[in-house]
Symmetry: C2
Subunit: 259 residues, 2 copies
């Protein structure tokens, strides 16, 4: 990994949109570590996961700034942003990809739905060191002060270390002032799930429609090595994630499947 | 798992839309194994991955059929279809979830972008035995004759076995007549990636736009235990997939990260 700040090219994206306070917090952090290029969605893309845009073409528009940071807004998803940045905007593969800071937590199985984490995973698929950051606060006026400090600490360490190829890290930060955050813990993804309850309504034309609502169920509340436990107990969490989704244990178990 | 056909409730979905030939092929297979309920997208949702619909509500419309199969079209993504089926349409958790048969291959890292496979993964997150099927043929008039036989064989075995909880299987079928398919192979996900080349054009108003195009790069062409190798060599493939994305090897490696 590049060791000098002046040599480092950092791609920043998110899923809340290019004008979200969370991405400004992340830009603040990343400017201390290298040359920053931002490519982020024009509109909020929460819940878009690893979606790519196939049916319509993408638009890409430069957003003028005064701080030396190149910024583009893109009409696509977070993963589209990463892909178009690599192909069309950057003259070489970035040294680091930072996604976020998401307004809302992305622990446990929320990683499946999150555009923020998908962008980091897309980085990992491209063998770019990649980090996804989320703050446990959905509000548009969330305070990112503590998150900035935590992100700075983690980035400083991350840039000195090498993950295995094809991995990335998922960082979640509790909604607390910095002096109440107990530390930074490396964890595993908690086993849990979202239980959906669609809210059925009827429109003025007498036709039904359904809003997605749900609540998270943690299936292992007492497991202290999980991200959920650590977050609930005041820690910022890091879960290393892999892009090989094969279940090797199952391959062994399936040896006796005869067709 | 339920052993009697009359007791089995099977949820079928896809990402090509409720009226795609591939889902009819899958319904043909699944009718032999239990009571089938179909909930599939109104429009094609290829590349939608594990996206969920948050910004707009969903519509759900029954599609009348004469073959005893209950079918609904849903305005959302494949994962929305699974979620709304479980919450609003089925009176109990299905015994099996079958997604596909996709018009196009979903091997290697294509699982990240595929709505077909995301629906199967959503089944796994719900602890429903789940299978995603794809045929290596993008054409709307693709011949599913061989795929139907392969899917029937795999389903018959799958229903007699138990995967570990939270796992599902990803099945890819080569574009060949049945007598040229060499067999069914349990594999791992090949290490590869999609290299994007956006096609830049200019609209009649002199503004640029970009179409996503790309080609798949297999980084381990000679590895015979991968889905890519097996497919290229005439086998149908099964990759068992996991929903715990934690990289445990990395947790060990990160023990010396000091913050």
């Amino acid at each position: 990994m590049k060791t000098k700040k002046s040599d480092r090219l950092i791609l920043v994206t998110n899923d809340d949109g290019y004008d979200a306070p969370g991405i400004e917090a992340l830009i603040t952090v990343m400017k201390d570590f290298g040359k920053v290029v931002v490519v982020a969605p024009i509109e909020a893309q929460s819940g878009m996961s690893h979606a790519i845009t196939i049916k319509v073409p993408l638009r890409l528009i430069e957003v003028k700034r005064n701080d030396g940071v190149k910024m583009y807004k893109c009409s696509g998803t977070p993963v589209d942003c990463v892909k178009i940045a690599i192909d069309k905007l950057l003259n070489r593969k970035p040294d680091l990809l930072a996604s976020g800071i998401n307004h809302g937590i992305n622990s446990s199985v929320s990683v499946f739905y999150s555009g923020t984490i998908a962008a980091a995973m897309e980085g990992a698929l491209n063998d770019i060191p990649a980090m996804g950051f989320s703050l446990n606060n959905l509000k548009p006026d969330a305070d990112f002060t503590a998150s900035i400090e935590i992100a700075r600490k983690i980035t400083a360490v991350f840039l000195k270390k090498d993950l295995f190829p094809g991995k990335c890290i998922n960082i979640n930060i509790p909604r607390k002032p910095l002096n109440e955050i107990k530390g930074i813990k490396v964890c595993r993804q908690a086993h849990g799930m979202w239980i959906e309850t669609f809210d059925k309504r009827t429109d003025p034309n007498y036709r039904d429609y359904y809003w997605l609502t749900g609540s998270f169920m943690n299936y292992e509340k007492e497991a202290k090595d999980t991200d959920e436990w650590a977050l609930r107990n005041g820690y910022a969490t890091i879960v290393p994630m892999q892009t090989d989704l094969t279940c090797y244990e199952s391959i062994q178990k399936m040896k006796d499947w005869k067709f």
